[in-house]
């Protein structure tokens, strides 16, 4: 690695001057600048970011903590965060936490030691207790786990209402809801939206609410059990699209037809929902926008730590596909 000193020597100037042209800061005469640039070019000099980081106490790195990149919801989120990071000159670090508080804490530690400039976190387990130890900006994304943080999410409750309403409009008579993990804030919000619409129906019972943990296999098992016990169910609002795919498989195994025997609507709007047969009606979140907005917000906070915290809530949209259809 060629250093700034070598560049300076070759150009016949001091390292300070080289630093000045590098950072376009302070006065440098055109002539000198020319010489320095020539030297940089000749030596193929690339500044050492680690040294810079040490001096500045900043690393130009941003980390995203997600439960598991193998859940197809997260790649899209990760992608958008990375894109924004890059466009602002930040390096993107991806961390899978497996919903484990230990892993989350371990990452928080490790990342701080690396002087990351900011964090975007999707978590259901962290709390203000943990985040207050961190002295870099944090944005919570998709889920709200610490109200002191800026938060980017979609309107889950409204989305769930949309979903339940849709099933009602197409004349489903008994609508069940498969939820995500209990501690996730969006699980609760989606459940509330569902309740807003159905809790006063005469058929309503909490027996129609079961957990699928946002997991395909778990949802599939839960749904098979539920439908066997409650054959009257003809509408299913599943808390995310991954579970929607599981629902489709469950119902196939029960030798029932979607949407003939039962209509299904998911949540998220990931592309998986377009590859199933039938394709999955869903409430789509603007996933890419959510990720990019979170990244932009974070960078704003990095640049000005005193900026007030914000909560950004994106609207959602019903996308009708083949898994729901008018009954009777």
């Amino acid at each position: 690695m060629v250093t700034i000193r070598e560049v300076a020597k070759r150009a016949g100037v001091s390292v300070a001057t080289v630093s000045r042209v590098l950072n376009k800061k302070g006065y440098v005469s055109p002539k000198t600048r020319e010489k320095v640039e020539q030297s940089i070019h000749d030596l193929k000099y690339k500044p050492n970011d680690v040294a810079r980081s040490l001096f500045k106490g900043k690393s130009k790195m941003i980390a995203l903590l997600v439960p598991d990149i193998m859940n197809p919801f997260f790649p899209e989120l990760a992608r958008s965060v990375e894109d924004i990071c890059n466009s602002y000159g930040y390096t993107f670090v991806l961390c899978n936490t497996d919903h484990s508080i230990e892993k989350e804490l371990a990452y928080l530690n490790a990342l701080q030691q690396k002087s990351v400039d900011g964090l975007i976190i999707v978590s259901s387990t962290l709390t203000g207790e943990h985040t207050k130890e961190i002295n870099v900006p944090i944005i919570s994304l998709d889920r709200t786990f610490d109200t002191n943080l800026s938060n980017v999410k979609s309107n889950n409750r409204q989305g769930a209402r949309l979903a339940a309403e849709h099933l009602k409009v197409i004349d489903c008579k008994v609508i069940a809801h498969i939820t995500g993990p209990e501690n996730a804030s969006n699980t609760e919000e989606r459940k509330q939206g569902y309740l807003d619409v159905v809790k006063d129906e005469e058929w309503f019972s909490t027996d129609y609410i079961v957990s699928g943990d946002y997991n395909m296999q778990k949802a599939k098992d839960a749904i098979k059990k539920l439908l066997l016990e409650h054959p009257e169910i003809d509408g299913l609002f599943v808390g995310n699209d991954v579970m929607g795919a599981g629902a489709l498989k469950a119902i196939e195994e029960l030798e029932m037809q979607v949407p003939h025997d039962i209509s299904i609507i998911g949540f998220d709007g990931i592309s998986l929902g377009e590859t199933t047969t039938p394709t999955l009606t869903t409430v789509a979140q603007p996933i890419y926008k959510m990720g990019s907005r979170a990244a932009e917000l974070l960078i704003e906070q990095i640049n000005d730590p005193d900026i007030p915290k914000k909560t950004v809530e994106f609207p959602v949209e019903l996308i009708e596909r083949q898994s729901t259809r008018k009954r009777r």
Copy 2:
């Protein structure tokens, strides 16, 4: 951030001594060690990795370059690389290159400036010309783009033979092949495997080989066109599972039945193939193992740069599901 100096002062020793207990290097009397550890604990001291990196010229970071994390093949790969990185104390950096040589080069540059310790690269566009400029170990993964590098891949050719054989065994009479992008080494290998099996068949024609670019939409369009022109095709070997999902959709739109009218087999073994209807027969690669082996190999090379380069080729496995069935 509390520094080593403060720890030293509180313990009444020099920073060198603190460093010794931190790194468990050199002699420290039990008594002194005790004092230092107490001080570290009291101050909640965490060593600054950036300073360490600057001194050592190493960052304990490993980067993975993939075309696009939104392609479901890559999350699994990324996941396994990250897991191994973590277990060896490395931080994992994910980079999407969009198959763009400019982005790849930009990342190579940026990562070097950050003193990354090693790279794992999935690429079809980089060459030895580019990688020779890099002075950290590199492993090529999934595709071979520079024979000077250690390489981890699966036996694509054999896998393709398995696929084509399978279609033959179930009595498909005309078997087409949808390929990946031209410049990807595994596209070529899979095509060769297909040719090994079918090139001497009397029905064979290169018209039955069309590109789908490993892309669902492109594959779908290409397949619709192909089947319209060649209704005699009753077996389809698609170069990856993502295109397999596209094939299923294409055939659905043509109002044909899988596997009744046409059998389809994919490649990769990603979980997407289990969520389609019908589920997708495929040649499965040990994706997680490929990623973890690549990471292990890389770490070996980081620890000993003189270690000879290796090529690891994993066997593949035919997984029969619903999209293929015996004909006649």
